[in-house]
C-alpha cells in the first residue's frame, strides 16, 4: 500500500506553532517518526492559519528534507503554494492536488511533467463535489484521458474520489467502494486510487476503528493508496494485513514486520 503520511499539517497545533516560531525540530521529529512507521510520502500542508503560506510551504519542505529523503506530497489547493514547494523540493515529489476541470488538469499536468512529479487529482470540478457514483467516474475518466494526452504514466496519477465524513452522508462510503471498482476499469494499467482516510471519522467516536475498517473494505475494492495517520499502528497493520489477504504480499509469520522493511 502507498501511504501518504498526514501529520505535517498546519491544522495540528504543534505544526502550526512550529511554523510560527520556525522550530524545525518539531518537523524533523514528525518526518522521522512517520518515515520509520512506513510512510511512502510525507504530506506537507501549511494549514490555513499561516501568515505567508508560500513562505510556510518552503520552510516546511526544507525542514522535512533536512531530516529524511522520503518523497514529499505538496498539499495545497493553491497553485502558487504548490509552486513555492516545488522551488525547494529535492526529494521525489507528488503534487496534491488538482481538481478535475480540463483546463486545470492541463496546467497541473504540465507542471507535474516538468518536475517529474506524481499528481493527485480530485474527482470534483467547478461545479462542486459530485453527489453520486457516475459523475465521479466521469471526472476520473477525464483525468485519465488528460494523463494520456500529456503522456504521463498512470503510475504517476492518483485519483481521489473525495471521501466525506460519515456523519454528513452515511450512504456514501458504500458508493465509494463502487467508485473504486469502476476507476480500476478506466485504463490498463489503472491510475492509483486514494482517499483522505481521516475525513471519514471526523467528529466521531472510535476514529481508529472506523478508519481501519473502511480501509480494509477499500483495499478489497481496489484502493491502493491513502492519505492517513501512519503513526496509528493498528491502522498500518490493517493495511498490511488486507494486502496480504489479497495475495499482494506473501504470508510469512513476520508479515507485519516484513511489510515495513
Amino acid at each position: 500500500m502507498i501511504t501518504i503520511a498526514e501529520r505535517i499539517n498546519g491544522m495540528f497545533l504543534d505544526v502550526k506553532r512550529a511554523i510560527k516560531e520556525k522550530d524545525a525540530s518539531v518537523i524533523h521529529k514528525l518526518a522521522k517518526e512517520q518515515t520509520e512507521a512506513g510512510a511512502t510520502y510525507l504530506d506537507i500542508n501549511v494549514g490555513t492559519a499561516a501568515a505567508d503560506q508560500l513562505d510556510a510551504m518552503r520552510w516546511l519542505v526544507e525542514a522535512t528534507q533536512e531530516a529524511v529523503n522520503t518523497p514529499i506530497a505538496l498539499d495545497s489547493q493553491k497553485l502558487d503554494v504548490i509552486k513555492a514547494g516545488l522551488e525547494v523540493v529535492k526529494n521525489n515529489v507528488m503534487i496534491n492536488s488538482a481538481q478535475g476541470d480540463p483546463e486545470t488538469l492541463d496546467t497541473y499536468m504540465q507542471l507535474a511533467k516538468q518536475h517529474n512529479a506524481a499528481l493527485l487529482c480530485l474527482t470534483m470540478n467547478k461545479e462542486g463535489i459530485p453527489q453520486n457514483v457516475d459523475t465521479r467516474i466521469e471526472i476520473a475518466a477525464t483525468i485519465a484521458a488528460k494523463a494520456m494526452e500529456h503522456d504521463i504514466d498512470m503510475d504517476k496519477i492518483f485519483i481521489d474520489p473525495i471521501l466525506f465524513t460519515i456523519t454528513v452522508d452515511q450512504k456514501q462510503p458504500a458508493y465509494m467502494l463502487e467508485v473504486f471498482n469502476q476507476i480500476k476499469l478506466i485504463s490498463d494499467p489503472p491510475p492509483h486510487i486514494t482517499v483522505g482516510l481521516s475525513n471519514l471519522s471526523q467528529g466521531t467516536k472510535e476514529k481508529s476503528l472506523i478508519s481501519r475498517t473502511f480501509l480494509t473494505m477499500a483495499v478489497a475494492a481496489g484502493m491502493d493508496t491513502a492519505l492517513m495517520d501512519v503513526l496509528d499502528k493498528d491502522l498500518m497493520d490493517a493495511a498490511i494485513c488486507a494486502e496480504m489477504i489479497l495475495n499482494k504480499q506473501i504470508y510469512s509469520d513476520s508479515f507485519l514486520k516484513a511489510a515495513r522493511q
Binding site: D155, Q249, I250, Y251, S252, D253, S254, K257, A258, Q261
Partner: protein
C-alpha cells in the same frame, strides 16, 4: 493491425550473489561466479534484463553413493572414493561450481568427524579452482558441530554454505557472517516458511545480498509442480518488489531425479519406458529445464550428459 504493447514493467529485481573469491579478493578461486540479477520473468527478455546466466553446480559427496544406477555411476566409478578427484572430474564435465554434500558426517551414514569434513573441503579447494558450495548433512546437531569448522577452513573463499532452516539457523548464520560466506536458506516446499527464514536470518544482521533460497526440490513426477509454483510465485514477488523474496534460487535436480524409479528401472524391469541408458539422463535434464522456466539461478546436477543438454538449453534461451 495495431498490436497492444503488453510488456510488463517490473519494479523489483533478484539480487546478485557472488560465489567464490579470487586471489585479488582474498581467496584462491580461478574466477568467481555471480548469479541472480533478473529484472524479468525467465526468457521474457523484452520485459527486462534476464540477469546472470544460470549456473550449473555438480555434486561431489564425501562418501561413495549407495544407490546410483549404472548409467550414472559409470561416469564417476573411479573417483567416488576420492572427493578431490571427483571434483576434478566434475570440472572436466563442465561444472560452473562444485557442490560438496557432506552426507558422510550424518550419524546414520558414516558419522565422519569434523576433521574429516575439513580435510575433504581443503582437498577440494586445492584440487579445483571452481567456486564451492558446501552443504551439511541435515542433522542439526552434527551440522552445528561440523559446519563452523568447515566454514573456518574455507574462510576467505566466499563459498555458499547450506543451510539455515527455521528451526536451526543461528549457528550457520553466525559462521557465514564471520567467515564471509554466502548462505542457503532452506524451506520444505513452503513459500511462507521460505520467506520467514529469510527474515529470521536478516534479523541477525546477515545481508540479504548473500542469501540463496532453497525449497526442497521435487523431480519430474515426484512433486515438481509444487516447487515449480513456489519458485514462480517467489520470482514474481521479487520482481514486484518483495525484498525478502528477492534472493537467487538454488535447486537440487541431480539427487532428486536419479532417485526416481524412472531413472533406476532397468530395461527388463520397465521395457515400455525406453532405454535405461538414456532414461535417467532425460529425467534429470527435463526436471532441470522445467525448473529453469520457473525462475532458478543455480542447478545442482549429476550426469555429465544431462549437464551438457541443460547448458545447451540455457545457451539457446539467453
Amino acid at each position: 493491425m495495431q498490436i497492444a504493447n503488453v510488456t510488463e514493467k517490473w519494479t523489483g529485481a533478484v539480487k546478485e550473489v557472488t560465489i567464490g573469491a579470487t586471489k585479488d579478493e582474498g581467496g584462491s578461486r580461478g574466477k568467481a561466479v555471480t548469479v541472480g540479477g533478473a529484472r524479468s520473468i525467465p526468457f521474457m527478455d523484452f520485459d527486462g534484463d534476464q540477469g546472470k546466466r544460470i549456473a550449473v553446480a555438480m555434486d561431489v559427496y564425501d562418501i561413495p553413493p549407495e544407490d546410483w544406477p549404472e548409467p550414472l555411476l559409470k561416469n564417476y566409478a573411479d573417483v567416488v572414493n576420492d572427493p578431490a578427484a571427483w571434483a576434478k572430474k566434475c570440472a572436466e564435465y563442465g561444472a560452473d561450481l562444485i557442490c560438496l554434500k557432506l552426507d558422510g558426517i550424518h550419524p546414520d551414514k558414516g558419522n565422519k568427524s569434523a576433521d574429516d569434513a575439513v580435510n575433504t573441503v581443503k582437498s577440494i579447494l586445492e584440487a579445483v579452482d571452481l567456486p564451492l558450495i558446501i552443504w551439511g548433512c541435515e542433522n542439526d546437531e552434527k551440522d552445528n558441530e561440523v559446519m563452523p569448522k568447515v566454514s573456518q577452513a574455507a574462510a576467505g573463499e566466499r563459498c555458499l554454505l547450506g543451510g539455515a532452516t527455521q528451526d536451526n539457523y543461528k549457528t550457520i548464520t553466525a559462521v557465514c557472517l564471520a567467515d564471509g560466506h554466502n548462505l542457503i536458506t532452506q524451506a520444505p516446499v513452503d513459500i511462507n516458511i521460505g520467506k520467514q527464514i529469510n527474515i529470521l536470518v536478516t534479523d541477525l544482521g546477515f545481508p540479504l545480498d548473500k542469501i540463496v533460497m532453497f525449497q526442497t526440490t521435487g523431480a519430474l513426477g515426484y512433486g515438481i509442480e509444487y516447487c515449480y509454483s513456489i519458485h514462480e510465485r517467489g520470482r514474481i514477488a521479487a520482481l514486484s518488489g518483495d525484498g525478502q523474496m528477492s534472493t537467487p534460487v538454488i535447486c537440487d535436480v541431480g539427487h532428486e531425479a536419479w532417485r526416481a524409479k524412472e531413472a533406476k528401472a532397468s530395461d527388463t524391469e520397465a521395457p515400455q519406458w525406453g532405454s535405461f541408458a538414456e532414461r535417467g539422463i532425460m529425467w534429470e535434464a527435463i526436471t532441470a529445464v522445467t525448473l529453469i522456466q520457473s525462475g532458478v539461478d543455480i542447478i545442482r546436477m549429476y550426469h555429465p550428459k544431462a549437464v551438457s543438454i541443460v547448458k545447451e538449453h540455457i545457451d539457446k534461451l539467453t
